[in-house]
């Protein structure tokens, strides 16, 4: 840990300000709390909102896990993990079960979260109504008055154009029967995990300067139509490495002859299964000994 930085980079006043926003977010689940987002030593789009939330939550005893699209080893995940190693000196892990704070971009881990864990989401655009109603004053009023018909207009347009609700990520949800919320660009496959989770879920949008939260054991419902119910879809394959039928998959093109493989997007989940002896279609064949 570098001694030139305050613990977790941000000064204590700033962390207090962010904690107040987080507490307000927890008190009003799904409500977007404005906060004074700071300049961070990384560009917008790299998770500046999530990093500030994580910085405000971290204690020296925490074990931090950072994932990007489910993977611990991508550039974004690696650089954020290094950032906190350097500025906070906290222990890091790739194991979902060991982590006390998990910062994520675009996924919820496959391994069910437990009480005491904090999941921090990086959010690009926190306002679910934004694409239909460009005026911030108007979207705030719509939230305040629970005027959410417009959200269904978006889903209606989806079905009218594609025959089914084609929104596959950032699928809008209603939190505890009140606020409509953008769950960040997680695949809709992950939406059911938002609901009734034992972990605390925090959302940070740096550029848009918003923080919101889903406290543990909060009901989160994906919006839908009676005749077009919500479906948590995924590619209809098992993982080619660990054989899991139920995990969310990435499609990897392996050559230019149409060769492809499907692998778990959650690298920790896949590795844990392989260590436990599970195999998939493309697992290295071992000689029968």
């Amino acid at each position: 840990m570098s001694e030139h930085y305050n613990f977790a980079y941000l000064d204590e006043q700033t962390k207090r300000m962010i904690r107040r926003a987080i507490l307000k977010g927890v008190a009003v689940p799904g409500y977007q709390v404005p906060f004074a987002s700071r300049e961070m030593p990384m560009p917008y789009g790299w998770g500046t909102g999530g990093v500030q939330v994580t910085a405000a939550c971290l204690t020296p005893e925490d074990q931090l896990k950072v994932i990007d699209q489910g993977a611990d080893d991508t550039t974004n995940a690696v650089s954020i993990r290094k950032f906190f190693q350097k500025t906070a000196g906290v222990a890091v892990t790739e194991r979902t079960t060991e982590a006390s704070v998990i910062q994520t971009r675009h996924r919820i881990p496959e391994t069910p979260l437990t009480e005491g864990q904090i999941l921090v989401y990086q959010v690009p655009i926190p306002e679910p109504l934004r694409f239909l109603e460009p005026r911030e004053t108007e979207t705030r009023r719509m939230h305040a008055l629970e005027e959410y018909g417009l959200m269904h207009v978006k889903l209606y347009e989806d079905i009218a154009r594609n025959g089914a609700i084609a929104t596959a990520y950032a699928y809008p949800v209603k939190v505890e029967g009140r606020y409509v919320m953008d769950p960040s660009p997680i695949p809709k496959f992950d939406n059911p995990k938002l609901s009734n989770s034992p972990a605390l879920q925090l959302f940070g949008a740096g550029r848009e300067q918003r923080i919101y939260a889903i406290p543990p054991y909060t009901q989160v419902i994906s919006l839908d139509f009676e005749d077009h119910p919500f479906e948590a879809s995924k590619a209809p394959h098992p993982c080619d490495l660990c054989g899991d039928e139920g995990s969310y998959l990435d499609e990897v093109i392996t050559d230019d002859q149409g060769g492809r493989m499907f692998v778990c997007s959650d690298t920790d989940h896949c590795e844990s299964r392989r260590e436990a002896g599970h195999t998939g279609r493309l697992s290295p064949q071992e000689d029968a000994a």
Binding site: L132, R141, L145, E146, E147, G149, L150, H152, V153, Y156, E157, I159, A160, R161, D224, F225, E226, D227, H228
Partner: protein, 258 residues
């Protein structure tokens, strides 16, 4: 004739930094009646319409609407959620420019369905069927249901705006120059459509326009405004054919005959 007026307007005054917008306007609008408000630019007719529709807060006055659930209530004293709920159920507002009243990036079906979804409709098939039915009533072919308004002509956009507004079966419609900006032949078709809808749905309407031909064909009653004052009001053909006030006489005699 002992029923309650649908809308009772009492003493509406609105000033802008001391300048008069409209002054002490009162009238009763009865179920099924269409009232026209005419006057030149700056006469206060649009200010009055905005005050009635809840888009502007008047300085003084009351706008009492006979609500379905609770009978006559002062709209201006309602909470904002109540007023907005009213605005998307029992009320409708047709803007002069369809761009102000439509979502240009949303399909025709989505535009019509929005008010249904806003009041809780959650069955895609039913919403779509109702949208197509309404497109038919405003003479837009069913196969245009997934087209966006920018692919429509001006007259079609205006008809779409009307469908979008009437789908929840409102009882009171405010219209601001609904035929302004349209070709004369398109205007005629729109007027006929509006007349038919007003009659079939038993709508009451307040229509602001500067076009005396429009009010003669559409409005039962007429209110003439000048400089923020109502100078004359009464039965439409009486006001136009036997005008009493100097300004109305000037207005009527200024119309070009064709």
């Amino acid at each position: 004739m002992t029923e309650t007026p649908l809308l009772k307007v009492e003493g509406i005054t609105k000033t802008y930094a001391g300048r008069i917008g409209c002054k002490d306007v009162s009238f009763d609008l009865w179920p099924g009646e269409v009232m026209g408000i005419v006057g030149e630019s700056g006469s206060g007719k649009s200010t009055l319409l905005s005050c009635l529709a809840g888009h502007l807060a008047p300085d003084t006055g009351r706008v009492v609407f006979d609500t379905r659930a609770e009978g006559p209530r002062d709209v201006l004293a309602m909470s904002e959620p109540e007023r907005r709920m009213l605005a998307r159920t029992d009320w409708a507002f047709v803007h002069q420019n369809p761009r102000d009243g439509l979502r240009m990036g949303v399909s025709a079906g989505g535009n019509v369905g929005e008010r249904l979804m806003a009041v809780g409709a959650r069955h895609y098939g039913n919403i779509r069927a109702e949208a197509i039915d309404w497109l038919g009533r405003v003479e837009i072919a069913a196969d245009r249901v997934d087209d966006r308004p920018r692919q429509f002509s001006g007259g079609m956009q205006q008809r779409l705006q009307i469908a979008r507004n009437l789908v929840t079966g409102p009882r009171l419609v405010f219209m601001d120059e609904p035929t302004g900006g349209l070709d004369v032949s398109v205007q005629a078709r729109l007027l006929d459509l509006l007349r038919g809808l007003v009659r079939e749905m038993g709508l009451s309407a307040v229509i602001v326009t500067h076009d005396l031909a429009v009010v003669r064909l559409l409005a039962d009653r007429l209110m003439v405004m000048k400089g923020g004052d109502v100078v004359e009001q009464g039965l439409t053909d009486q006001v136009l054919d036997d005008p009493q006030h100097a300004y109305t006489q000037l207005l009527v005699s200024s119309v070009l005959q064709v």
